[in-house]
């Protein structure tokens, strides 16, 4: 438990130093924990647990876009769980239930959770359609067709810098659309 959370902190520090692989590993590692907590929250609120993946993706987007609010001197897990808790409460409230989310829901999750199956969710895909054309093309290319930034730049005849900017804007607008729901 302690070990896993220390590992997260180290991964996030490396990610901030520019290590994309460490960042990828971190997100892969936190996802099952977030998924289990989202399922538990939904179940307790009497909601279908198959909506959990939408909540997980919403949390991941918020983690990504707000990661500059993490203090690199502090452990990563409390920050992560605070973001997750906030998003879970929002999601349950939107589904019209009174909610009680315990911070322990996140911390308690046992290592023995089913290993990261990859799960699909509808909300992000739905909002993808509503993005401005350029942002959508870039996001489609990188997220759906798994093309690298470099290849995407060649394919869409853009500079790599412009692809990066469009990608970041696309992710920010997705998060804004999810929030407005």
């Amino acid at each position: 438990m302690r070990g896993r959370e220390d590992e997260w902190t180290d991964l996030m520090r490396s990610a901030n130093a520019g290590d994309g692989v460490a960042y990828h590993r971190l997100l892969k590692s936190v996802t099952p924990v977030l998924r289990a907590a989202a399922r538990r929250g939904l179940a307790r609120a009497g909601q279908a647990v198959d909506q959990a993946e939408d909540i997980v993706q919403d949390i991941l987007l918020a983690v990504h876009l707000k990661r500059h609010t993490w203090d690199a001197e502090a452990p990563f897990a409390p920050w992560l769980f605070a973001i997750a808790r906030n998003k879970l409460i929002d999601a349950l409230r939107r589904r019209g239930r009174r909610v009680f989310v315990n911070i322990d829901d996140f911390a308690e999750t046992i290592a023995g959770e089913p290993a990261a199956e990859t799960v699909s969710a509808g909300e992000v895909a739905m909002h993808l359609e509503g993005l401005p054309a350029r942002q959508r093309e870039v996001l489609q290319s990188i997220a759906v067709d798994s093309t690298s930034i470099k290849e995407t730049a060649t394919k869409l005849s853009m500079s790599e810098g412009a692809v990066r900017v469009a990608l970041h804007r696309a992710l920010s607008s997705l998060a804004a659309k999810l929030r407005k729901e």
Binding site: Y23, E53, Q57, A62, K66, H68, L167
Partner: protein
Amino acid sequence: MDTDRLIRTLAADNDSRARPVGAVLATALLVALPVSAAMLLATLGIRQDVMTAMHNPFFDLKFVVTLALAVPAIAISLHLSRPEASLRGRGWWLLLPVGILALGISGEMMLPQRLPMMTRLVGNNSRVCLVAIPAFSLPLLAAALFGLRHGAPARPALAGALAGMLSAGLAATMYAAHCNDDSPLFVATWYTLATALVTAIGALAGAKLLRF
């Protein structure tokens, strides 16, 4: 979209770097301060006898009190822009201006006064004060909310209330240069009412604007 793809996409965007909340908040406030100052100069102006007034400790005390509100409120709101943060350990900083005012009031009580207490409390400018401080604080409040939106406050209404306090504190600092009521009793009554109003506006706006 499946979560693995989303994760890969987020990792591809790892090189994007957002500016720290403190930098965004500072820039926004530095842009808004001249706007509020211009509002003051264009409408009320600075009091005529400001050079003599500066030798009056009760005139100077007004600036100490308003800054003792604004500075801690800035620090606390910045702290609250982190999702795991709470008021604990920092909330008492907001008692600082209250304590200074209390000292000021007892100081004034001990000195012989030309005017009776109620006259000093009601002053000449109470209505102007109640309008001017909230009005001058609006550009600052907008700037503070803009800066804090860049963060991730877990309690948006509370963060908004702090944004209200910091903008009222800064606006009152400017207004104090116009106001010729220097009695700490006046400050404790009317400045506090004006601050409470702006704090409430900040809390309402924050609840809507500061969710992430």
